[in-house]
């Protein structure tokens, strides 16, 4: 069932499959407001901060850079730039420990800051409606915008007007559903004008029929702030919709389902339905990038949990080490037991805190022993089916597990392993403590590796066959040339040479005859 008229959005909600009702835990960091984190002595900026291959690095060790200066050059359409977050000198370009679901180290630009924080910006476009949508899109890529919800999907790719489907709905995603994370909520509370004006810019780039901001129904304060700002800015083409709080509602596909009743097809994109979802943080950063000309050099990070003394939301420069932000939040409490980037369900557990925050880091969560489910030994699957009840992608987690453990990756693919959004709901409810999401993540990686190997083998076979064919053709041509030479009388040599050859032959013959005669006469 699909919506007919745009004004229907928000009139009724659809239900997505599964999901969990979880306690919010967001007030913990929100009571202290949104603070500016100071500048650390060293910034470590990973080069790969987007989906797809990163842009080409243009700086080298020893260079001095200004804050906001691009460290990369865009050579492909999907590239977004990475910028120096503050002024200083580049002291190293090397592999450093990073926050990444699979890799421990990645190539980083290490900048020793000079403390002056000299900034350079792109030209400020105060009168942004005068610029056309392509120029605005280009600006977002130049300014390094990638999905700040955590996926780092290049923002400008989602804003392509030339798709088959015209955009009927732009959803600004403020349904930050995972517990503890309050980065988006603090932006909407304390910088609502940036979020709303950013939404206007994104909406204009897309020429969207309708634009809504989706927030959770527990965010009463946020709604007030947004509505007041809407009134003050006299924006009337933007609706604020409160959606029921169910984890993982903030997932792109789940949110589209709740608001429109449509399902994004497996392997497809929301654009196929004429819907685009952008994160609240991305909207605010788009405003800064266009109106102030400010590239993406900082983001809001919630530093929270019962493992820090003073939970707070900080606007931190990209590349700030985790330990530095923990210090700003009053340092660890005595009970601090675990450090996670992200929320308790989808977060990445960090082995140490000497790693930089990236454009994807929305939360640093410190947990104490009682927060963590005691690590129990894994028990056999009892086929209770709870995992399939809560799976928001409507998959069959226990079947997937059986196939993957049996090394039947192709079977797992047939069960739509690709559609797993790694939300962790199945882990949460599993009574046997089976690490399901981790298994799926690993299996996806293994599948991608085997696909790559297959592609390479196909290429090698094609190239080998081509070479053999080429050699065979060469051989055939050579034989043909030889044969044709043998058949045809040789006309290439001049008559003089031919006569000389004939004379020489006669002479040789005569000599041979004489020799014969001589031997005969001796007898």
């Amino acid at each position: 069932m699909s919506i007919d008229a745009p004004q229907d959005i928000g009139q009724r909600f659809w239900r997505f499959h599964g999901g969990l009702s979880l306690r919010h835990w967001k007030q913990m960091s929100l009571q202290h407001g949104l603070e500016q984190a100071p500048l650390p002595a060293q910034l470590i900026v990973p080069i790969d901060q987007q989906i797809g291959t990163p842009a080409e690095l243009t700086v080298s060790v020893g260079d001095t850079v200004l804050g906001g200066q691009a460290l990369t050059r865009r050579t492909e359409a999907h590239h977004v730039n990475v910028h120096a977050p503050s002024s200083g000198r580049i002291t190293a370009i090397e592999d450093r420990p990073v926050i990444h679901p699979r890799l421990d180290c990645q190539r980083c630009v290490v900048i020793d800051t000079d403390g002056e924080d000299h900034q350079t910006t792109l030209p400020a476009w105060d009168h942004w409606p005068e610029y056309n949508h392509e120029a605005l899109r280009e600006r977002l890529a130049e300014a390094g915008l990638a999905g700040l919800g955590g996926a780092l999907f290049p923002t400008h790719l989602k804003l392509d007007r030339s798709t088959e489907q015209p955009t009927r709905l732009l959803i600004i995603n403020g349904a930050e559903c995972e517990p503890y994370i309050a980065a988006d909520e603090s932006l909407m509370r304390w910088r609502p004008e940036q979020v709303l004006l950013g939404a206007q810019i994104l909406s204009r780039i897309l020429d969207a029929e309708q634009c809504v901001i989706a927030i959770e129904d527990q965010m009463g304060e946020v709604e007030n702030h947004l509505r007041q700002t809407l009134k003050a800015l006299q924006i009337d083409n933007l609706a604020i919709i409160k959606v029921p709080t169910i984890y993982p509602e903030g997932g792109e596909r789940q949110l589209i389902r709740v608001l429109t009743g449509d399902e994004v097809p497996a392997g497809g994109l929301p654009q196929d339905l004429g819907v685009v979802v952008q994160n609240v943080g991305t909207a605010a950063a788009s405003y800064q990038a266009v109106v102030d000309g400010q590239p993406l050099i900082s983001r809001v990070v919630s530093v929270t949990g019962r493992g820090v003394n003073h939970p707070v939301n900080l606007e931190a420069r990209i590349g700030t080490p985790v330990w530095f932000l923990i210090e700003q939040a009053g340092g660890y409490t005595e009970q601090a037991a675990r450090l996670v980037m992200g929320g308790p369900l989808m977060g990445i557990s960090l082995p140490d805190d000497d790693r930089p925050v990236t454009k994807a880091s929305n939360c640093l969560l410190t947990m104490i022993d009682t927060d963590i489910q005691p690590v129990a030994e894994e028990m056999p699957c009892i086929r209770c089916g709870k995992c399939s009840e809560v799976c928001p992608a409507a998959l069959l987690p226990q079947q997937l597990l059986a196939q993957i453990r049996g090394n039947q990756l192709e079977e797992a693919r047939a069960l739509h392993l690709d559609a797993c959004i790694e939300c962790g709901c199945c882990d949460y409810v599993c009574p046997s403590q089976i690490p399901l999401t981790q298994t799926y993540r690993q299996a996806k990686h293994d599948l991608a590796l085997s696909d790559l190997a297959q592609q390479q083998a196909d290429r090698a076979r094609d190239r080998h066959e081509f070479k053999e064919q080429r050699l065979a053709e060469q051989k055939a041509r050579r034989r043909q040339r030889l044969e044709s030479r043998r058949e045809q009388p040789d006309n290439s040599k001049s008559d003089d040479i031919k006569a000389a050859i004939a004379r020489a032959r006669e002479k040789r013959q005569a000599a041979a005859d004489q020799n014969c005669d001589a031997t005969e006469s001796q007898d």
Binding site: I51, G52, T53, R102, K444, A457, R463
Partner: protein
Amino acid sequence: MSTTVLLALIAVIVLIGALGAVLGFAASRLSSDVGPVVEQVNAILPQTQCGQCGYPGCLPYARAIVDEEVAFNQCPPGGETVIGELAELLGRDPLPLNPENGEVKPAMVAWIIEEDCIGCTKCIQDCPVDAIVGTAKMMHTVIAQECTGCELCLPPCPVDCIVMIPVNAQRQALTTVDILNVRLPA
């Protein structure tokens, strides 16, 4: 015998003849020299074209497995995975890799030490996948993405300037696109 039976018999005979002719024509004109089983075997083999199995390439080895029933455990680059898949396809019991053919090694690519290369073009001629570029008396180099790591370029090199190095870390650590299976709009 009634005429109906006769007619039916004639019709059947004519049909047999016509269909036989069609099939015969198809068999002679549309046949490929690669049988479907050989193709399936070849699809499983890793296409390194290294010749460690004793045959000049993966396709000849595939033909030998199918036609001459040569043992299917002679492919070191494929390792256990390929042996397992072949065993399943052919309905035979899996065998351990024949140590005479070599051992399983991590993925490698050839690397030409450019200072030492004299430009003799011998390696180019022996590369099964045209992954080496260069010409006479000019320095050669390996296109790493195309190299299958077959090591066939090592023996002909008169100055031993080719070494095998582990596959580029970037080639093994996939980009996020591959992992998330996201489609990037063009």
